[in-house]
């Protein structure tokens, strides 16, 4: 009997002490993310390999599609991940308010200011304190063109919206279409048009208004939003400026819409799309032979109203810290280093380093280098608004753009409809 008691006590001790001793010996950093094994996770592992090798820390990744609910559960249970990649500060507002998120005041702010554009520090700052870092970004405000065809026709890259419209008229007079647009995308049809409107919105009103729009603090039927749609209508409301007219725009799949730029003679000369479209170019007829930088290139969506300059629309990964210790600090520190993204790109991942000291020659091709240069040129940076809106509103936004392209004169009704849905969705 005594033996049994001793054994039980020993077992108890082992169970109680084991995790404690283990934690002292080993350094494990937990990381919560939406990245999954198929796509970005291997790139992430590639990226943090130098850190892991240097510190001997193990990074334990928890991957989930439902990030915010999982994060909420874990924070409320007092067991938050050490570091999380979250979609936006908006989605973790409660944690910020309750002080669950660790301020990154241990970073050398002089270095940060030197190496990161003001845009990124501003985006990572809440109420004057830096809470998040954005090591990687993607730029969506790109207009693709075929430099060879442009040269042959004697066109020049437009620097303002008015120049763009004039170019469109000229292209039309010369017998082709200006833009090739494709909105077909199954149940998500219409999303490429929402990117257009967001880009225009950023260029026709203040950043405050853009943010207010995202949060439904200004109305869809209001002046700012209406103007953005109407400006978009200067292209999609004009059959002459779209390849195949508005019917072509509605029926063309978003992935094939860039192809008319590469026929001879070109059916269209311009295509607005995020950088991912590069992967689709190879699928165009004869696309295999096209050389990036020579046969296709892009320029930044031109400014519309001088006052608001040329903001960039895109996506970026936001990292926030929930547990403050030397290891997690070291990881955050590592992610802000100039060459942090090197491993990510080396492994075939796409993206742009936000750190302006990132060596340009580490980009795999001239186009991603150009995108990186353009990202340094933007006056501000904002996330894709529709992604940040409630799903219902996003859906109505998609559908609304389709109806708008089909019948631009129904704009007022379309916006009223989205407004009524937004009214309900945000209210809840």
């Amino acid at each position: 009997m005594r033996k049994l008691i001793v054994f039980a006590v020993m077992l108890g001790l082992v169970l109680v002490l084991a995790p404690a001793t283990q934690a002292q010996e080993e350094c494990v950093i937990s990381f919560l993310t939406v990245w999954s094994g198929e796509d970005e996770l291997p790139n992430w592992e590639n990226m943090v390999r130098p850190f892991v090798e240097e510190t001997g820390c193990r990074i334990e990744v928890e991957s989930t599609r439902d990030l915010v609910p999982v994060l909420t559960t874990r924070v409320e249970a007092g067991n938050p991940p050490d570091i999380a990649g979250v979609p936006s500060f908006g989605s973790i507002k409660t944690f910020l308010d309750e002080g669950d998120v660790v301020p990154l005041d241990f970073l050398d702010m002089d270095r940060m200011r030197e190496q990161f554009g003001e845009v990124w520090l501003e985006l990572g700052t809440v109420d004057g304190t830096l809470y998040g870092i954005f090591p990687r970004a993607a730029l969506k405000s790109l207009i693709w063109y075929n430099p060879k065809a442009f040269d042959a026709a004697g066109y020049e890259v437009p620097e303002t919206w008015d120049e763009l419209l004039a170019l469109c008229q000229q292209i039309y007079d010369d017998g082709a279409a200006c833009f090739s647009i494709g909105l077909e995308s199954g149940a998500a049809s219409g999303w490429p048009a929402t990117d257009w409107i967001e880009d225009i919105m950023l260029r026709t009103t203040s950043l405050e208004n853009y943010d207010a729009w995202v949060n439904h603090e200004i109305e869809w039927t209001g002046e700012e939003v209406t103007r953005a749609w109407e400006t978009f209508g200067q292209i999609v409301g004009n059959d002459d400026f779209q390849f195949g007219g508005s019917a072509g725009t509605l029926a063309t799949n978003f992935g094939e819409a860039i192809c008319p730029l590469f026929t001879d003679p070109p059916g269209a000369y311009l295509h607005r799309q995020a950088s991912f479209i590069q992967a689709f170019i190879a699928d165009c007829p004869g696309g295999d032979a096209l050389v990036p930088g020579e046969d296709y290139d892009f320029f930044l969506f031109p400014p519309i109203d001088e006052e608001y300059g040329t903001p960039g629309l895109g996506a970026a990964d936001l990292f926030v810290l929930f547990n403050d210790n030397e290891h997690t600090r070291a990881l955050i520190e590592f992610l802000t280093q100039p060459e942090a993204l090197a491993g990510w790109l080396e492994g075939g991942g796409s993206g742009i380093a936000t750190n302006n000291q990132f060596p340009l020659d580490l980009y795999p091709d001239p186009l991603s280098r150009r995108a990186a240069e353009l990202l340094q040129e933007v006056d501000a940076f904002r996330f894709d608004a529709s992604d940040l809106m409630p799903g219902d509103v996003n859906q109505a936004f998609w559908t609304g753009t389709l109806n708008f392209v089909q019948d631009p004169s129904s704009l007022a009704q379309i916006l009223e409809n989205i407004e009524s849905i937004a009214d309900q969705s945000y209210g809840e």
Binding site: A187, S189, G248, D264, P390
Partner: protein
């Protein structure tokens, strides 16, 4: 003892079935009804608000309208065609083969059928004779292959009657030269072997002839300069026009009115913009002018009729513009060659898209109706029909006075089954249009409320309940009918 045991024995045997039935059917139904009175996440009781939404929101009203259309057209289509085919196939020697083919679509999943038909209805951006159509949708490809005129040869003939000195042969020769040069280059660059090149050169004249007559250029990467065929053709036409004396623009305009109309349109359009910027023209009037500009300038070129109304800026220069036209561009030739046959966007053009979707449903379900009706048809005693014929009834009378009444119970069951099917229609709509462009239906709305965005448990449940309430009476009627029919046997 035995009597006592039999008290719980039925419970043991029935228990699992009842339990499963309850868990899988009754409980979910009750839970759905409960959720339909709760808020978005099913946390708070909100009374009839979800039903208010489901019955009055514009999106749902559109869905109700479309479901009604489906109900009428789909049901009459499937039952009508099913009956027709069953009757006709009854007398065919290869009856089982014919029926198997009609029945085949039933074996395809609805999503698969949606995908197949999406290709059938596919629309590519409209092509033109010089940039020939590449429609991959069967319907549009067939539509555009009916091209009575509007070939490049026709354009050349038109130019000839107006006195532009050019022949088919010259244009052909221009294209052949360009293509030959590029093929030789490819041989030098060792992209083509000599034998391949000779083969191409051999069939080249024939292919160019076909191209002039309106066929698409060959789609084969060995042809090196395919993309330049239109350019070569236009260049040759322009060269011929350049030999005309100065001021011959009118000749070009008569042959290719759009070449001049476009010049006018572009210059006048710019002048209108300037006038608006200078404040001498109201924006509203400018819009009206711009809207009518194309029609007006084409009319002017064709007949010399000047447009009425205030605000035209460069009207007095229009004649000069025409006289100065000395270049034909690709668009002008294309527009003139346009035969007016345009591809149709079957699943997006409002007014036809709902019917296009319904046809897909009919395609799938006709086989089912046909099989059931055909079986019932076989059950009609032959002597009855014989008797009718002996009494002097013609075939129509036999069909409507004997066969239809005998089929009535089956027809009712088939029709009500179709009613139920059509009320639940989802897959076809979701796959092909996702409810956009005015094709919304109730079940698709239910899905989108739940998964399309906000996880609206409340809205989705209310819609589900309404759908259930619509279907249950039909189902009960269906079962009653079926029982009656069985009892009659």
């Amino acid at each position: 003892m035995n009597v006592q045991r039999s008290n719980w024995a039925p419970a043991v045997f029935l228990g699992p079935a009842v339990f499963l039935l309850f868990m899988l059917m009754v409980y979910p139904a009750l839970e759905t009804i409960r959720l339909s009175f709760m808020d978005r996440l099913g946390e708070r009781y909100i009374g009839l608000a979800n039903y208010d939404y489901a019955l009055t929101s514009p999106r749902m009203q559109e869905a109700f309208r479309n479901n009604l259309l489906w109900l009428v057209v789909f049901t009459s289509g499937t039952v009508g065609l099913g009956l027709l085919i069953a009757t006709l196939a009854d007398r065919v020697r290869y009856e089982s083969l014919a029926k198997a083919i009609i029945f085949m679509p039933m074996a395809i999943s609805f999503v698969g059928a949606g995908v197949i038909w999406k290709f059938v209805y596919d629309l590519r951006a409209p092509g033109t004779p010089l940039q020939p159509n590449n429609q991959i949708g069967v319907l549009n490809a067939v539509l555009l292959s009916i091209r009575p005129d509007g070939t490049l040869s026709d354009a050349i003939a038109m130019l000839n009657t107006e006195g532009v000195p050019i022949t088919d042969e010259e244009v052909m020769q221009a294209i052949i030269e360009v293509e030959t040069a590029r093929i030789e280059e490819a041989v030098d660059g060792e992209d083509l072997t000599r034998a391949e090149a000779d083969e191409l050169l051999d069939i080249l004249p024939g292919r160019v002839r076909e191209y002039l007559d309106g066929q698409t250029p060959p789609r084969d990467e060995r042809w090196q300069a395919l993309g330049q065929w239109p350019r070569a053709a236009i260049a040759a036409i322009n060269e011929a026009i350049a030999t005309l004396p100065p001021g011959s623009g009118r000749i070009v305009c008569n042959a290719i009115p759009h070449a001049c109309a476009m010049q006018i349109e572009s210059i006048e359009g710019r002048a209108i913009d300037e006038a608006v910027a200078a404040g001498t023209l109201s924006a509203e009037r400018a819009r009206e002018l711009r809207d009518s500009l194309r029609a007006v300038s084409v009319e002017y070129v064709r007949s010399g009729t000047r447009p009425a109304g205030e605000g035209w800026q460069t009207l007095d220069q229009w004649d000069d513009i025409i006289a100065g036209v000395n270049e034909v561009n690709i668009r002008a030739v294309n527009t003139t060659l346009d035969t007016g046959v345009e591809p149709i966007d079957w699943i997006r053009r409002q007014g036809i898209n709902n019917f296009a979707l319904i046809i897909v449903g009919v395609w799938i379900w006709t086989g089912f109706c046909m099989v059931v009706l055909s079986a019932a048809l076989k059950g009609i005693p032959a002597e009855l029909i014989e008797a009718a014929r002996v009494d002097g009834a013609n075939e129509f009378q036999v069909f409507f006075k004997v066969i239809i009444p005998m089929l009535m119970p089956t027809l009712t069951v088939v029709t009500t089954t179709m009613f139920i099917t059509v009320l639940k229609v989802f897959d076809i709509v979701y796959v092909m249009t996702a409810g956009n462009f005015g094709t919304e239906v109730i079940a698709n709305r239910m899905y989108l409320e739940m998964y399309g965005g906000n996880r609206e448990f409340g809205h989705a449940s209310a819609i589900a309940v309404i759908l259930m309430l619509a279907i249950v009476p039909i189902m009960i009627y269906n079962i009653v009918q079926f029982r009656r029919q069985e009892a009659r046997r």
